[in-house]
Symmetry: C2
Subunit: 427 residues, 2 copies
Amino acid sequence: MPNTTNNPIRKSWLTVRENSDFPIQNIPFGVFLTKEDVITIGTRIGDYAIDLGALQQLDYFEGIDLTDDMFMQDTLNDFISDGKKTWRLVRNRIGDIFDSSNPKLRDNPEHRDIVIFNMEDVEMQLPVLIGDYTDFYSSKEHATNVGKMFRDPENALLPNWLHLPVGYHGRSSTIIPSGIPIHRPMGQTLPNGETTPVFGPSRLVDFELETAFITTDANIMGENIPINEAEDYIFGMVLLNDWSARDIQKWEYVPLGPFLAKNFASSISPWIVTMDALEPFRTKGPTQEPTPLPYLQQKGKHAFDINLEVYIEPENTEATLVSKSNFKYMYWSMCQQLAHHTSNGCRVNSGDMMGSGTISGPTPDSFGSMLELTWGGKNPIVLKDGTERKFINDNDTVIFKGYCQNRTVRIGFGEVSTKLLPPFVRK
Amino acid sequence: MPNTTNNPIRKSWLTVRENSDFPIQNIPFGVFLTKEDVITIGTRIGDYAIDLGALQQLDYFEGIDLTDDMFMQDTLNDFISDGKKTWRLVRNRIGDIFDSSNPKLRDNPEHRDIVIFNMEDVEMQLPVLIGDYTDFYSSKEHATNVGKMFRDPENALLPNWLHLPVGYHGRSSTIIPSGIPIHRPMGQTLPNGETTPVFGPSRLVDFELETAFITTDANIMGENIPINEAEDYIFGMVLLNDWSARDIQKWEYVPLGPFLAKNFASSISPWIVTMDALEPFRTKGPTQEPTPLPYLQQKGKHAFDINLEVYIEPENTEATLVSKSNFKYMYWSMCQQLAHHTSNGCRVNSGDMMGSGTISGPTPDSFGSMLELTWGGKNPIVLKDGTERKFINDNDTVIFKGYCQNRTVRIGFGEVSTKLLPPFVRK
């Protein structure tokens, strides 16, 4: 089935401003709450949120095999579970409905009133119920930077790193959509030079610039997903800020990995951009040397050219761009991550989320965390308001943006924006 | 409200054989499927499964504030979410209904037919939808054994171990109830003396003898649970076999912790034994030296005297008891684990599961894994059929049993039994 929605010359009858992340070629999926407290699955074109539940009730998806309440739900899990064929049929149909040449909805003001909302009038929710969240560690530059800082600069990468996409399990219960503020976490840390730990607010709260992909239910427990099939089970991608408390992490993480240093919050952008929409931005990933074992070998282009930006916005002042990176730098592809994850028979469900790991580029201005940008706090960043940052301050808002751009079209993620509040104090 | 169900002299009008794990003083909660394909929440007395959905429809819970379909569900999450007061009211009522002196259901054969099943006629399911699964590492003996084998025997415990309950996130999607067989996992390992890894079946599949507790939704994100309140948010406990592939673990786990070595399967006993039922078996835990930080300090008895047994049953032969341990050996209590887990504001939901970590006792016959029992394979165990085991063989069934016993009553968990099948082969 052709992926007709990507036609770069197509225009929508809805206004889309220049450089919008959401032209008619995008058609991402999300969940939003209206002012009337209705929750629904939706998409976005320009600055309009589109109620897919209403569209379905008005019979605009006629001919596509969907359960009656497919879009009148508060998560996308069931839709994602229907598989790639359905995703594409629905996305193509939405493209048709909003194509400038199609009068059906365009010329029906009554229907338009029911279906179309201004983005400022809706509240974005988590798009999926995330059963399990896995975070990988697949940027060679990031792993090398961390290895240089904390281990042996001459042997910065650990022996397993070039042979498998290192990953670990995260916490689903604290994944939040863009816009929800978080508190600076309390935790146990070991002051420099001491042997007895203390408990208090983390002093080294950091962001991690990541993307994540959302899966469909792909396998039964005990069976693997072969790498050549892996891409069929990836629904789409979001931006992910995997908040980290570096001082808590340092004290707790040996031998079983990060725990409280990470599980206080992970923020995601609310619109899932489909792999179909990202298709024009497919590119070649880094050369893998040594050659991976056969179960991780793949041919063709499996990286995606997604520009990533990080901004820090102190309270009441403007934001400063502190990093520019790109998803194409990732050493291990999403297919390799998924094939590895299931190589032992681990079951993957609809709505599971898998993070890339911090995405650092090759130059110091492309690093994906304050830890790396300031090299452990040694080289503070000066913001536009003249203040310095080694890590993130209370009341700072951290904003990630992500977009693909070629000569004809821009496909973006919007943003994930999260304010760091002071520590929670029990009254 | 008194916990009347624990009255040790109470008898049920249902037959309960001597030494049953499920006298009327237990009243655990689970979910089962009947031969008519009806799924329901239930309890167990003796060898009878009791349909709580049917009891509710027949109005036996009159006067207790429950939603209409509370027990006609396929998970206990909503019931657990109702909180401790409701758990106790329902458990006390069940005790009353089945008390030998109460004729209401006893003398109503029509109702009995609807409500009571033979255990052999039902199929136990996972009792809860597990949103997040955390595994701790809270047995000092286990951590010391592992440290001696893999690190410095003189400094077996890592510096953080005595200061906090070390934990990490596991995978919810592969938690299965007793009785479901699993496949030997495939995975990447580094052969001894080599520098290049290979991919194939794990050669070192092991059990980990654990218990786990199930939580209610206890806090809002960003807020902690003070240690003195933690126990109110623990619904009950199960036995947990946290299957492990030691060779995969060794190669993958530095620096971010266990991943594919663990997430191929974790098996649990299907009946959640409530904290109310375990109350008579409360005991003092090990002395904690150094004194934990204030947020982890608690007074009183917070350990539980739960006998634990591990059996290996090769195909077509009888089972051999290979370890006897006890939950009371745990250094960190469940309350300390929960207070620590939420000390950074991490949200805990109804149905979350938190594993104890491998429970090893002080003597070599009380170790909780083959890794420790055979000391890394150096001292194989001889089974009753004369065969030796360093780790678990294909077609072996591993069985854990757990029970509390005092002079008047025995409260047990039944068992978690899992057969290890050969590796999955794609046809």
